[in-house]
């Protein structure tokens, strides 16, 4: 349903052109969930906004985005208005700021309903009521007449989801939908999204910095680094045979239930590269414990290696003899390649 090919997005800034998304391709079918994972600033949020066409005016995009066979990746976003809401919609990270503080939540739901579907006020209200109860909000009649500031964070996010779902989109972007929420509520919201996605048979792109969030929920996972996709695989495959050292590092940074509570987590040393002047070769190389001279000179191509459907870009992949050798070599010569000062 969604076919993204070599999409690039850059922003004009005073420092130069920031290449926030630099050649990403993937496909997504109806009913599937794609998890997009990476650190902050890796371009994952920009990617979803690029596809949605919600970029600010100083951004430019190229490449091809086909939605149900129709090209929507052009420079003009005027026609996107027909897609927004009905074909694709988005749940934002922070429900505090994503709801209009001076408009009743009921109004915010019915606005787009009435706008797109041209339904009567009564019907729109009825639908809003159903939507609110379907996202698990008790006493929906009362809530409809409330303002955002009268609700808790979790409830606001449910309202956001209700708004996003109002016009029955075929595709939902969830951009860090739980980051701003309490841990106890995160799972509820994720479950809600998953349930709605299944029920409505939507395609969903779940953007997060937390591999743990997508672990049980996404069909496929794309790991992004410095604006590029560096590893993509079905979820099970990715967790069982991850190949990219960055994916490994991300995984190591998630707390695990079976670890002792005081186990030290591995943080990834160093910082993501400057997207105005990205390093030559593999962009992760400066921070990579496996990196060899070749990595600093030549960028590894993103390609399928052994398992079908599992593609990655690395010269010395994790779990391969080359990788093990490279790691050993680096551990022998202390501190050569490990970036991170």
């Amino acid at each position: 349903m969604l076919e993204v090919k070599d999409v690039r997005t850059s922003f004009k800034t005073d420092r130069g052109l920031v290449k926030a998304v630099d050649g990403v391709s993937f496909t997504l079918e109806r009913g599937e969930t794609l998890g997009v994972v990476g650190e902050s600033g890796c371009g994952k949020s920009v990617l979803s906004k690029t596809i949605m066409g919600l970029l600010p005016s100083n951004a430019s995009r190229s490449g091809s985005i086909k939605f149900e066979g129709q090209e929507i990746g052009g420079p003009s976003i005027k026609h996107m208005r027909d897609f927004w809401g009905t074909q694709m919609s988005m749940v934002f990270q922070d429900p505090m700021t994503a709801l209009n503080p001076v408009m009743k939540v009921g109004k915010q739901i019915t606005e787009s309903l009435r706008h797109h579907l041209d339904v009567s006020r009564e019907f729109a209200n009825e639908t809003a009521l159903q939507l609110l109860s379907s996202v698990g909000i008790p006493e929906p009649e009362r809530r409809l007449k409330q303002y955002a500031f009268e609700m808790s964070g979790g409830m606001r996010q449910r309202v956001m989801i209700a708004i996003a779902l109002a016009c029955g989109p075929k595709m939902l972007f969830a951009d860090e939908p739980t980051t701003a929420l309490d841990v106890t509520v995160q799972a509820q919201i994720l479950d809600l999204l998953e349930a709605q996605q299944a029920e409505r048979f939507m395609a969903m792109i779940l953007v997060t910095h937390d591999l743990g969030v997508v672990a049980g929920r996404a069909d496929n996972i794309m790991v992004m680094y410095a604006g590029q996709s560096i590893e993509m695989a079905p979820t099970r495959t990715l967790f069982s045979q991850m190949r990219h050292p960055y994916t490994e590092a991300l995984l190591k940074s998630i707390p695990k239930l079976n670890q002792a509570s005081h186990t030290r987590l591995d943080a990834i040393g160093g910082r993501p590269p400057d997207l105005v002047n990205p390093p030559v070769g593999c962009r992760f190389a400066p921070r990579c414990p496996y990196a060899q001279a070749k990595c600093h000179q030549e960028a590894p191509p993103l390609m399928v290696h052994d398992t079908p459907g599992h593609e990655y870009a690395c010269w010395f992949p994790v779990g391969t003899p080359q990788g093990a050798e490279a790691l050993a070599k680096n551990q022998g010569s202390i501190g050569t390649a490990v970036g991170g000062q």
Binding site: A98, S112, Q188
Partner: protein
């Protein structure tokens, strides 16, 4: 419908801050200001129904220029035997109408232009705000003076009617207030346009005009209201300034400014004739400024360079 985890948490308690804000109320000063302005509005609206003396044709055969609390004249009368109370009440109606009309006009145009400049941004926004800056570079009184002269040239024999003259003055002052209101609206619209809910609305397919009016505008209103209240105060003063140049409404119709201006060449002769409207001007301007500040504080309107 699928199973959905029910909400477990209770709706949040109002935060401490919110509670304080509610408790704090408006304060005595603000209520006094509202009271005074309420009286002024009442006088302005009912001026023609109140049992007042003729504010235009005085009793020139009576003793003129008598002071406060003289028989039949609480605020005395002027040198043409006209009751100061009657004139100041009718003047209230004139001055407030001019203030309300011009700020209404300025808010409408300035608010719209500022909203567009702030929301659309880009080159249009830059061009518009450059325009405001140019307009703001002119001293407002001078600009108003010029505009009144241009809008109401005195070449014809027949002087413009009171209503026409009032509209001209209001239009001139309103034009002057446009860049001020546009600028503050733009600054606020700019910051609100970058909020996520605007993008959220956009991602739901709302059209720019709709977003501007439904999403951005309501959030900008408090700032506009605050500035408009201060603007009303300024207009009252500017009207007085215009009157000094003989460019407010035409005599013999009274306005606060006209009444003060009529005495500037000799403040000592019949002081009550200018002191009474001056007190009206002073209290009204102070009240409006106070309320403007209250609105700003209440809504935490962001300061923008005016």
């Amino acid at each position: 419908m699928s199973e959905v985890a029910p909400m477990t948490e209770a709706s949040p308690e109002p935060t401490q801050e919110e509670e304080e804000a509610t408790k704090r109320g408006l304060g005595i000063a603000a209520w006094l200001a509202i009271g005074w302005l309420g009286c002024m509005v009442f006088l302005a609206v009912s001026a023609s129904f109140l049992p007042l003396d003729d504010p235009i044709n005085g009793s020139i055969r009576e003793t003129p220029g008598v002071s406060y609390f003289t028989e039949g004249h609480i605020f005395g009368n002027d040198l043409l035997g006209r009751d100061t109370l009657a004139r100041v009440v009718v003047g209230t109606s004139t001055s407030l109408s001019i203030a309300a009309l011009s700020i209404g006009f300025g808010t409408l145009i300035g608010g719209f232009v500022g909203l567009v400049a702030g929301y659309v941004g880009g080159r249009i926004g830059t061009a518009l705000s450059a325009m405001f800056d140019i307009l703001l570079a002119f001293p407002p009184l001078l600009l108003a003076l010029t505009l009144v002269s241009v809008l109401s040239p005195v070449t014809e024999t027949d002087p413009p009617s009171r209503i026409k003259r009032m509209l001209v003055v209001a239009l001139a002052v309103g034009l002057v207030s446009i860049p001020i209101l546009a600028r503050i609206t733009r600054a606020n619209a700019l910051s609100w346009s970058q909020r996520e809910f605007v993008m959220a609305a956009k991602s739901q397919g709302a059209k720019p005009f709709r977003i501007m009016l439904r999403e951005v505008l309501p959030n900008v209103v408090p700032a506009m209201l605050s500035v408009a209240l201060l603007g009303l105060a300024s207009v009252i003063i500017v009207e007085g300034g215009l009157a000094l140049f003989g460019l407010s409404i035409n005599p013999p119709d009274p306005s606060w400014g006209n009444m003060v201006a009529s005495q500037v060449d000799d403040l000592g002769e019949t002081p009550h004739v200018w002191i009474v409207p001056s007190v009206f001007i002073f209290l009204s301007v102070m009240s409006l400024n106070l309320l403007g500040d209250v609105v700003r504080d209440k809504f935490a309107v962001r300061e923008a360079a005016i």
